[in-house]
């Protein structure tokens, strides 16, 4: 039974992208897990949803724009990306993201998807 369980990691992103390194630190973990062929999913909740919003340009404020790296996820086999509808609504944000494969989930579905992962790290 135990052997048939595929281990997977959920990275729960909860910080806006620029004022601290949380998003970048989580991204580095996602890329390395992807490189080692480990299943990894990204979840965006709270201010973490800002990491997904289209039209940002960190270079204006001298931030190395790591959000551009999100577009390379396919090469790291990262294809499950979930965003919490409640967090978008609270911020009056439309579902307009800078990458394509984002799935908007209501609170219950978001919570349910998290439980499909054995390890959850939050940044």
């Amino acid at each position: 039974m135990a052997d048939t369980l595929i281990k997977s990691l959920a990275l729960l992103n909860t910080k806006a992208p620029y004022s601290n390194t949380a998003g970048k630190d989580a991204l580095d973990i996602a890329l390395i897990f992807g490189s080692f062929e480990q299943k990894v999913s990204l979840f965006f909740q709270g201010d973490g949803v800002w990491q997904l919003m289209a039209g940002q340009n960190g270079s204006i404020i001298s931030v190395k724009d790591y959000l551009k790296t999100f577009a390379a996820f396919e090469f790291y086999d990262i294809d499950t990306i979930y965003v919490c509808q409640t967090s978008l609504t609270q911020r009056n944000l439309p579902a307009n993201f800078h990458i394509e494969q984002v799935q908007v989930l209501n609170q219950q579905a978001f919570a349910q998807q998290l439980t499909l992962h054995q390890t959850i790290l939050r940044f």
């Binding site: 729960l12 909860t14 909740q45 709270g46 978001f110 919570a111 998290l114 992962h117 959850i120």
Partner: protein
Amino acid sequence: MATLHIVRQSAYNTDDFAQCLQVLNTNDVIVFIDDGCYNLQHSLLNTIESSKNIQLQVITQHASARAVSINDAIFTKITMDDLVSLTFENDRVITWQ
């Protein structure tokens, strides 16, 4: 298939606890430690649906150190030994810090 939620921050200061409550599933366990102990009288607690059968636990030492009193009718008092045990009794752990 329960999740252990370790809450380490005051909800008066950060959104962590509110976010934790958003992802609760039936039979999950919440343990308040560190500044999470300041949430023991927070109004957010009233938003937890009783049908979800959520267990609320507190590390006694952490609450006592902060002069936070624990309502026995709501919270289970635990020790660090219990927290270690809960790590394995539940299927996964999320740390809210």
